[in-house]
């Protein structure tokens, strides 16, 4: 029962945030030019064509994501480690 309540809380919070985002995008979208189905399909076909031209299907995206996360995470990790050590020395 407790777990169901917790899941419900998560889903309600997610639905509220998602609803606000949907409303914000639709309110903004109403002011911009409406996109037709053919425009959207055209864009999708263009993207699929680009994907097919990608050549060798190696998971470069995975490597790219890992590198990107390391570039962000490692300096932050070193900074927090140094600040913890500095706190210990001060003590």
């Amino acid at each position: 029962m407790k777990v169901i309540f917790q899941i419900l809380v998560i889903l309600v919070v997610a639905a509220l945030i998602g609803g606000m985002m949907y409303a914000a995008v639709n309110a903004g979208g109403a002011m911009t030019q409406t996109q037709t189905r053919s425009d959207f399909d055209g864009e999708r076909l263009e993207r699929e064509h680009e994907d097919r031209e990608g050549g060798i299907m190696l998971p470069f995206g995975v490597v790219k994501s890992l590198i990107f996360m390391s570039v962000v995470g490692v300096p932050y990790f070193l900074w927090t480690k140094r600040s913890v050590q500095a706190g210990r020395v001060q003590k």
């Binding site: 889903l11 990608g54 470069f60 995206g61 790219k64 996360m69 995470g73 932050y76 990790f77 480690k81």
Partner: protein, 164 residues
């Protein structure tokens, strides 16, 4: 090592691996990308349930003194959660596999695609920070899982709070 820590670590590793695959739809294909993302959303709910006590504890003491590290961690987790919702919502709105397979058609809008790309890129930054913040716990729990040793139960910044 407690059974819960073991489950947490294995779930987190699986979720992270799935996240990396989902971040590369060009290689995996759009169907795998979409169905895997839905599975990730389900595992994120389990991840939140497993860490529910921490969420409740920090939420109730968010504005009390000496919680800088936990507060930063808490805010980062909220940003990650909101970003995750944006990824899912925009992903559903531009879905080419899951939503059509349910027999539904949604209004098309370029904005959702831009938002999906933007929120996915932001998630990489946030995930990098999230991993960095919990790296000691991950390394220590993994070490314990595979070799045996002491387990660190709190992220580095929270230990700094405890020292203060």
């Amino acid at each position: 090592m407690s059974k819960q820590n073991r489950i947490k670590l294995l779930l987190d590793i699986l979720t992270f691996a799935a996240f990396l695959i989902a971040m590369d739809p060009h290689t995996s294909g759009i169907s795998i990308h979409e169905w895997l993302s839905i599975a990730i959303a389900a595992t994120v709910i389990v991840h939140l349930l497993l860490n529910w006590d921490w969420i409740v504890r920090v939420s109730s003491r968010l504005f009390s003194k000496g919680l800088n590290g936990s507060r930063a961690n808490y805010i980062l987790n909220w940003l990650l959660f909101v970003d995750g919702i944006l990824i899912m919502l925009s992903g559903i709105m531009i879905s080419e596999a899951v939503v059509p397979s349910l027999g539904l058609t949604l209004p098309q809008n370029f904005t959702w695609r831009s938002l999906h790309d933007l929120s996915a890129n932001i998630s990489l930054v946030l995930m990098g920070l999230h991993l960095a913040l919990h790296w000691n716990w991950i390394a220590s729990t993994a070490k314990r899982l595979f070799t045996g040793g002491e387990v660190i139960t709190k992220p580095m910044m929270e230990r700094k709070d405890a020292q203060a």
